[in-house]
């Protein structure tokens, strides 16, 4: 185990970073905000953290916090400007934001190292800190997926007008989505820089948009579990696919296409519906009620977990 762990340390680190990047796209999506700005925030976090460590010799924890907060602040400004856009138009505006960050990185002079990037970014980031940070984020995200807050988020996503007419401040929720997305993206970018001690143009490339989006589409878009499943899958898949040699890209593409066609709710959604089917098999059937029949015992109607499974 420990030999496996040591030889795959880079992949473990990449998985943890990929989880945070995927969440930075997934969290706004759950609120009905089709924003891909998390990738731009990732780039901001990646370069800001490199500068903090190289110039200010900041430690890992303050670097993570500052990088996340800077990206969150930029996310808020972006959100104020474009939160009224919806659907594909919002997605396009946020992709433009991602590309803008890339252009700034390329032309940033000594702040970004231009096409070469920045190297030798060493901070006191331990595996324990990295792991702990990701677990903390997952716990916080989980809290938004249960109970009252989860129901509000569902309403804001599925029917914003209805949500507003029931007293939910939809605008505040949408803006929060931009801020949270910015923070998570910035944190992911920072951790990527700190684990690899370098940052370059590949950390702001359009490719990351595709990676983050496929991660949550294949994994499942409505729960953090989907982001984790997708991040593990797409970080480890390339090394597993080495056996197929030059067909690697082809197989990779095939998996994405098949997932999009056959798993519209992602792998996590597949798991949920399978579990539901098993539970239903062991439940007494729902009998139609006769008009003269008194109260139906509540337990024979649908169970509560159907909502949790969504």
């Amino acid at each position: 185990m420990s030999a496996f762990y040591a030889s795959n340390l880079v992949l473990v680190q990449a998985t943890l970073v990929a989880i945070l990047l995927a969440l930075s796209i997934q969290v706004p999506l759950r609120l009905g905000v089709f924003s891909l700005a998390g990738v731009g925030s990732y780039g901001i976090g990646a370069y800001v953290s490199a500068n903090l460590v190289l110039r200010e010799e900041m430690g890992a924890v303050p670097t993570m916090l500052v990088s996340g907060l800077v990206a969150a602040a930029v996310g808020l400004v972006l959100g104020v400007v474009i939160y009224r856009l919806a659907g594909l138009y919002l997605a396009m505006a946020t992709i433009a934001f991602d590309l803008t960050v890339g252009v700034v990185a390329l032309n940033g002079g000594e702040w970004t190292g231009g096409p070469v990037g920045l190297f030798g970014v060493f901070a006191d980031l331990t595996m324990g800190l990295l792991f702990g940070t990701v677990v903390l984020v997952l716990v916080l995200v989980h809290l938004t997926e249960v109970g009252r807050l989860a129901r509000r988020i569902t309403t804001v996503r599925e029917d914003p007008e209805l949500a507003a007419s029931m007293g939910v401040n939809v605008r505040a929720y949408r803006l929060t989505a931009f801020v949270v997305s910015g923070f998570l993206g910035g944190l992911a970018g920072c951790l990527n820089t700190l684990t690899r001690s370098a940052v370059g143009l590949q950390d702001v490339s359009f490719h990351l948009v595709v990676v983050a989006l496929t991660t949550i589409i294949v994994g499942g878009a409505l729960s953090w579990r989907g982001a984790v499943i997708g991040a593990v899958l797409f970080t480890w898949l390339p090394s597993v696919l080495e056996v197929v040699g030059e067909w690697q890209e082809f197989v990779y593409g095939l998996i994405v296409v098949l997932a999009a066609i056959f798993l519209p709710t992602g792998l996590y959604g597949l798991w949920c519906s399978a579990r539901r089917r098993v539970v239903e098999r062991f439940r007494p059937p729902v009998r139609p009620r006769r008009p003269d029949e008194p109260d139906v015992p509540a337990a024979t109607v649908a169970p509560e977990h159907e909502v949790a499974a969504r």
Partner: protein, 239 residues
């Protein structure tokens, strides 16, 4: 009292509501009738804060709510039941109800829920069932209940009879009456004239964004020509 005066609402160059005055008193049902496109739903949406009025004012008691965003209007005690029910099918009945409680004080929530169970026993009976398994009429009651969770002084009902079987329309109308009896002021908009005439204390007929007729239910029935002109012969076939 909910007071709407000289309300104007425009969508671009189209003036959907051009100077409507309405009053709703606590414990009474005010019915607004009119054909498609008369500005009925727009009026409700403007009161609820979903759209911004261009001119005029909306007052809830002493509070001027004109142009407030929707979530603040709920806080002022006005709840909208939008057209078409819009319940969340996979959630349970009780979870759908709990969606409505953001502005309710925690201590009050239980009491409010009890009142809802009392008016709509069927919701209590099926509270753990998925909302999607309810009939159309029951879903409409759930939409009513969800609005009542915010403990409003006034509710705005947008075509509650739409798409329901005639027998179910009677049940829904009876429930609207019960809501009013519990002290809530009801502003109900309908195309189906018969749906609300029995319980309405006053009736306003609107057309092309303006008030065309105003009176009691009895006056509307007596002056059937008014309705016939706006709603066509079939509207009063039952009456």
């Amino acid at each position: 009292m909910l007071q709407i005066s000289d309300l104007h609402v425009s969508y671009g160059h189209v003036e959907a509501v051009a100077g409507i005055d309405l009053e709703v008193r606590p414990g009474q049902v005010s019915l607004v009738l009119g054909p498609n496109g008369a500005g009925k739903s727009t009026t409700l949406n403007a009161v609820a804060g979903v759209v911004r009025p261009a001119r005029g004012s909306v007052r809830v008691g002493d509070l001027d709510t004109t142009g407030l965003p929707a979530h603040r209007v709920v806080g002022a005690g006005v709840a909208l039941v939008p057209e078409g029910r819009r319940v969340f099918a996979p959630m349970t009945v009780e979870e759908n109800l709990r969606l409505g409680g953001h502005t309710t004080a925690p201590g009050r929530a239980r009491e409010v829920l009890e009142r809802i169970w009392e008016i709509f026993p069927v919701l209590h009976e099926r509270r753990r069932g998925a909302a999607g398994l309810l009939s159309g009429g029951e879903q409409q009651m759930l939409a009513f209940g969800r609005a009542l969770v915010s403990d409003p002084a006034f509710v705005l009902l947008d075509e509650p009879s739409m798409g329901l079987a005639p027998a179910m329309v009677d049940v829904v109308v009876e429930k609207v009456g019960l809501m009013a009896e519990s002290g809530i002021g009801v502003l109900m908009v309908e195309q189906n004239a018969e749906a609300g005439l029995g319980i309405a204390s006053d009736v306003t007929v609107v057309n092309r964004g303006q008030v065309a007729f105003r009176g009691t239910s009895a006056e509307v029935r007596a002056d059937a020509s008014v309705l016939r002109a706006f709603l066509g012969e079939s509207a009063l076939a039952e009456g």
